[in-house]
Amino acid sequence: MELTICWLYARTMNIYGDRGNVLALAQRCRWRGIEARVIELGVGEPLEPGRYDIFFWGGGQDREQVAAAHDLQGPKGETLRCEIEEGAPLLAICGGYQLLGRFYRPQRGELLPGLGIFDAWTEAGSRRMIGNVVVESEEFGELVGFENHSGRTFLGPRARPLGRVRIGWGNNGEDKTEGCRYRNAIGCYLHGPVLPKNPQLADFLIEAALRRRYGEIALLPLDDTLERVAQSSAVRRAQATR
């Protein structure tokens, strides 16, 4: 078996260890005997429909985020939207998450259009929300990460949050929601990176990809002792620092 991971804007949007998510996906495939290929897709490079099994999109600085937003206005963005509608798993962090909402409103200048996959929008804020985060998710249990954003994301009526923040700011520092879920797509502010310390999220994405490509397939369990140790030490740290 083989899965192809598409790393969107790998060179330009990869901040705070976001690449660890790609490493986690690839390694957790390999440890199960599933071949994992990682293809980086940059600005101006076309997205071929049906070629990729999992999408990952990280955070970036303002300038790179603008370039990516423009790159997705057109057939490339349409293809990505179709893939997600058809159940392709996707993880987007911070800047990538924001651009999957309807728009990003900067402090100055014009509105940055998003793909509108999540019923959400983001407004630039003046306060930077930084620190360890613990999220309670009905679907995935306790999640831990590190947030670092000034954009404040608000969920529309059709949006489902990834979870509720127990410790930290979350989407906007007001309504206690964190992240957004739609079909097999997950968007959130959790750096850390999020997948290695929350392997259930990684396995959700891998399982969804296998199901889509190969039909119903049970995922082999892995020894996640070290992951659990790191997860609980990060949660303890979050409790001590917030």
Binding site: Y16, G17, Q61, R63, P196, L226, A234
Partner: protein, 462 residues
């Protein structure tokens, strides 16, 4: 005499002495704060007195080592040098450091100052000291949770430099961000970088930042990548490229963990060699920066060479201590680039020794440990030696190594210090060498633990 300045210096010096007497360490923040409360212009008044002016050294990596090298060169050349210590690189610390080296009448006892400035404090430091030379080393994605985005730092630096019409800018143009930043200042800029293909990496490491053209946003193409995003680059979008080098290092020889040497090639000079008791490519950059700044100050090659030969490693920058019959080599790691270089050093010297990596996440370390995932640790998986991890976020480090393909059987998570030190030393055979890689506050804790165990080399006092 300026009574207000004199009072500021007096208050700063007295409080510094009191803090030391009370055993509160070598704190400089409070004395500097008091001095600037008494006389807000204290720093600018003091630095204006220096007959040969100030050199301000800034950059994410290598400030401390480079400033030490430059100060040593200037001392070799017979100058009386005023110098701030590592960790005192905010406006307050710099004020206190100069006050410390002034008379109670507010007269500075020195001819020239070499001042290391923190990235965020850089604009304020240059505004107040009006330096003769600004030495810019690099801009890495280090502790962004403290500084905000790299672009923001670059912009404030650019504004600060434009407001300094008299200063010469000595700049590492292997860093595309710094090259772009100083482009408009080309008439008073002295460039340095590596003219070497052999040190080039096969591919850009993952921690590389700023690999995008600052002018047009196109990803840069590298003819050679040396260290993180430092290299010989050009932009396929707009033609922006590394500017010509005024001072270059070539024929670089990295000799294990002990020495390095390279040839200095500068316009209108016969090439000449320098030899230093430090290791790693990042120290080639530090030494080359010191060479370029010293040349801008008109110091002769023989004196520069002698100054570099007299430079020793600073605390935690690769030092060796003996404890219970074992040898411990300590290397501070601050960010993915530093960690990459240590990994490169260990694997290229084929060192197969147990490793203890200590990761803390206090303010001075950076509270976000996700940087561990920006480092390329995969080469360690090829070595045969065990790795122990410890510190507040030791488990995160172990997990990073697991996903780098490091065999879990050879991986162990130890407690926090000092327990981790005892456990690690017990794993070493008598006579064996172990390597300890701590982050900044873990290094301080390690120093305390070693001192409690009777190991305290004199040079920690510096």
């Amino acid at each position: 005499m300026d009574p207000r300045l004199s009072l500021a210096v007096g208050v700063s010096r007295l409080s510094a002495t009191a803090i030391r007497r009370l055993g509160w360490g070598g704190g400089t923040a409070l004395p500097g704060l008091l001095a600037s409360l008494v006389d807000p212009a204290a720093l600018s008044k003091l630095s204006r007195q220096l007959p040969a002016g100030c050199v301000v050294v800034a950059g994410t990596n290598g400030k401390t080592t480079t400033a030490r090298m430059l100060a040593t060169i200037l001392k070799q050349a017979g100058h009386r040098v005023v110098h701030n210590r590592a960790g005192s690189n905010l406006v307050r610390g710099i004020t206190a450091a100069i006050a410390e080296q002034s008379s109670l009448l507010g007269r500075v006892r020195g001819e020239i100052a070499v001042l290391e400035a923190d990235e965020a404090a850089f604009p304020a430091v240059v505004r107040q000291t009006s330096p003769r030379i600004v030495l810019l080393l690099n801009l890495f994605r280090d502790q962004l949770d403290r500084y905000g985005e790299l672009d923001t730092v670059a912009r404030t630096w650019g504004e600060a430099l434009t407001a300094l019409p008299a200063a010469s800018i000595v700049v590492n143009v292997d860093d595309p961000a710094l090259a772009a930043l100083t482009d408009q200042l080309a008439s008073r800029r002295l460039t340095f970088g590596l003219a070497e293909q052999r040190c080039a990496l096969d591919q850009l490491p993952h921690a590389a930042d700023a690999a995008v053209c600052r002018r047009c946003g196109t990803p840069l193409t590298y003819r050679a990548a040396f260290l993180s995003h430092l290299g010989d680059y050009w932009c396929p979008g707009c033609g922006f490229e590394r500017p010509p080098l005024d001072v270059a290092a070539r024929a670089i020889a990295l000799e294990g963990l002990e020495r390095l040497s390279f040839e200095v090639a500068a316009l209108g000079q016969q090439p000449w060699r320098v030899d230093i008791a430090l290791s790693g490519l990042y120290n080639v950059y530090n030494a080359l920066a010191a060479v370029a700044a010293a040349q801008a100050l008109g110091i002769a090659p023989e004196l520069i060479r002698a100054g570099l030969a007299a430079t020793r490693a600073a605390f935690g920058r690769l030092e060796r201590v003996c404890y219970r019959d074992r040898s411990l080599v300590i290397v501070l790691i601050k960010n993915p680039t530093g960690l990459n270089e240590v990994v490169r050093m260990l694997t290229s010297a084929r060192i197969e020794a147990p490793l203890l990596i200590l990761i803390n996440d206090l303010d001075a370390d950076g509270r976000d440990v996700s940087w561990l995932w920006d480092a390329d640790l995969e080469p360690l998986a090829q070595t045969g030696s065990p790795v122990f991890t410890g510190g507040i976020r030791g488990a995160d480090m172990a997990l990073r190594l697991k996903y780098a393909g490091f065999p879990v059987e050879r991986l162990r998570v130890l407690d926090d210090l000092p327990g981790a030190l005892d456990a690690f030393v017990s794993e070493l055979a008598p006579g064996q060498t172990g390597y300890i890689l701590p982050t900044y506050t873990a290094l301080l804790a390690l120093r305390r633990a070693l001192a409690e165990r009777g190991v305290a080399p004199a040079f920690w006092r510096q």
